[in-house]
Symmetry: C2
Subunit: 240 residues, 2 copies
Amino acid sequence: MKARKIKNRKYHTIQDFIRKRIQGGTYPVGSYLPSENEICGQFSTTRTTVRKALDELLKEGFIEKEQGKGSKVVERRKSLGLLTVKGFSGSIDYEVKTIVTKGPKITQWDPIIPFALTEEEKKSDCVYFQRVRHINDRPVVLENNWYANDALQVIDSGEFIEGSFFKTLSQAYFIEVMGAEQELRSIPASQEVAKNLGIQEGIPILHISVRFRTSKPGLNLYGDLYCNTTDYPIRNSYFL
Amino acid sequence: MKARKIKNRKYHTIQDFIRKRIQGGTYPVGSYLPSENEICGQFSTTRTTVRKALDELLKEGFIEKEQGKGSKVVERRKSLGLLTVKGFSGSIDYEVKTIVTKGPKITQWDPIIPFALTEEEKKSDCVYFQRVRHINDRPVVLENNWYANDALQVIDSGEFIEGSFFKTLSQAYFIEVMGAEQELRSIPASQEVAKNLGIQEGIPILHISVRFRTSKPGLNLYGDLYCNTTDYPIRNSYFL
DNA sequence: AAGTGGTCTAGACCACGCG
DNA sequence: GCGTGGTCTAGACCACTTT
C-alpha cells in the first residue's frame, strides 16, 4: 500500500534504456553500443553521467569495455549462476543438451527447498519443472525448479529459447537474475537420482540448493540440483 | 628483464595509500576513513578522483559506503574465498577452530593439484601445510595447501595471525587474494580423510580444488579441501 | 545547521586501436 | 590522424545522518 517515491537518476534512465535495447535485440551480442559522446548527445548530458550508466551495465554483465574501440555487448555469463559444469563454456569438445522431463505445471511447494519462502510465496501456488542436462549424450545433472505462480505465469517448456529458461526470462520477459545464494552438499545418490543419471544408487553426488533473485520484485527461482561430478566437475571462478 | 612502464594514475596512488593504511591498522575495521573532501585536500585533487579510488576499494571489499556518514572499513569477506561453511560468519552459534596438522615445510608439488602450474612454479620447490577446521569441536574440513617457495618464504604456523593464513598474508606481507578458480567434486571419503574428520570411510565428501591468485606476481595458493557437509553445508552468495 | 556521500555539469588532455 | 574510452579538474546542488 505504501508507495515508494524514487528519485529520478539520470544514469538510471540511460542504464535502463540501453539494457532494454540489449534485451530487445537492438544491440545484439557482439555489437558495439553507440560511443559515449553519441549517448551524451541523445540524452543531453555529460560523459560522467553516461559513464556511470555504462559502469552499471558493466557490473551487471551486459557489456565489456574495450579501450579505443567501444563498449561491446556480451553474453551474460554471470546469470548462468556462478557454477558451471567443467567445459560448459569455452570448449567445443562438449555437446550439451537439456531435456525437460517434468512440467512445467502448477503444484505445491516442495519441502526440500532449504530457503525460507516469503509470505507471498507461501500463499501462492508454485510452478514446477524438472530437467536433465546431458553432456556428450550422457546425463550429468538432474535439476528441479520452482517459482511462485503469483509472480510469473506458467511458461511452457516449448517456449524455452534455446532450451534455456534464463534466456527466455531475459529475452521474452525482460527479467534478469540479480544474484543467488547456494548450499552445497555431498550426498549418496537416491534411487530417483540414480535412475535419471544412469548411475548406481549410493554413489556420491553433489547436491546444490540455490535461490536466484531476479529483477522482478517478489520473483525468486528455486533450484535443486544433483550433479554427477565423476567425469564433469563443477567449476567456478571469481575475480575481485 | 623487461621493465613495464606503468603510467601513474592518481586514483591508484590514493587507492594504494588507503589500502596500506587499512592493512597496516591505521584505519582499523569498523572505523571510518577521512571524508572525501579531506582526502581531496591531502592529495590536492578533486572528488571525482577520490571517489574513483574509493570505488575501487569498495570493489576490492575493503570498505562500505554509508550515505551521510562516511566510508567504513569492513572485514574482507570476499578474500575468504567465495565458499564458506554455513554459519562461519554472522552467527555466534558456531565455535570455529583451526588446527595445523602438518608443516609448513618445504616439499615437492603434489600431483593431486588439478591446475596447470606455471613454469616458475614447476622449477621451484613448494611449501606445504595441512589444517583441520573444527566447528563446535568437531572436525569438518581437511585442508591441504601449497605455494611456490620461490615466490614466498616459509611462514611458520606460529606466525599465523588468529590462525588465519590469509590474514597473515594481508597484514604481515601486504599480499591480497585477487581471485580464485575452483573445481568441486563429490567423492567417497578416503582412509586419510575419514580418519581426520572422524567419519566412516566411503561417506560422500565434498572435494574442492582451488587456486587463489594473489596481488604478488607469480604467487598462487593451491588448496585441496575435503568437507564433511552432513551437518555443515557449504554456502555462497553472489550479487551482481 | 553542518557534514557526509550521491549526482551532475562542462569542460580538458591522455592512451589505445585502426585505417 | 581520428575516434574511442580513460583520467582528471573545478565547480554545483541534492539526499541523508547527526548534532
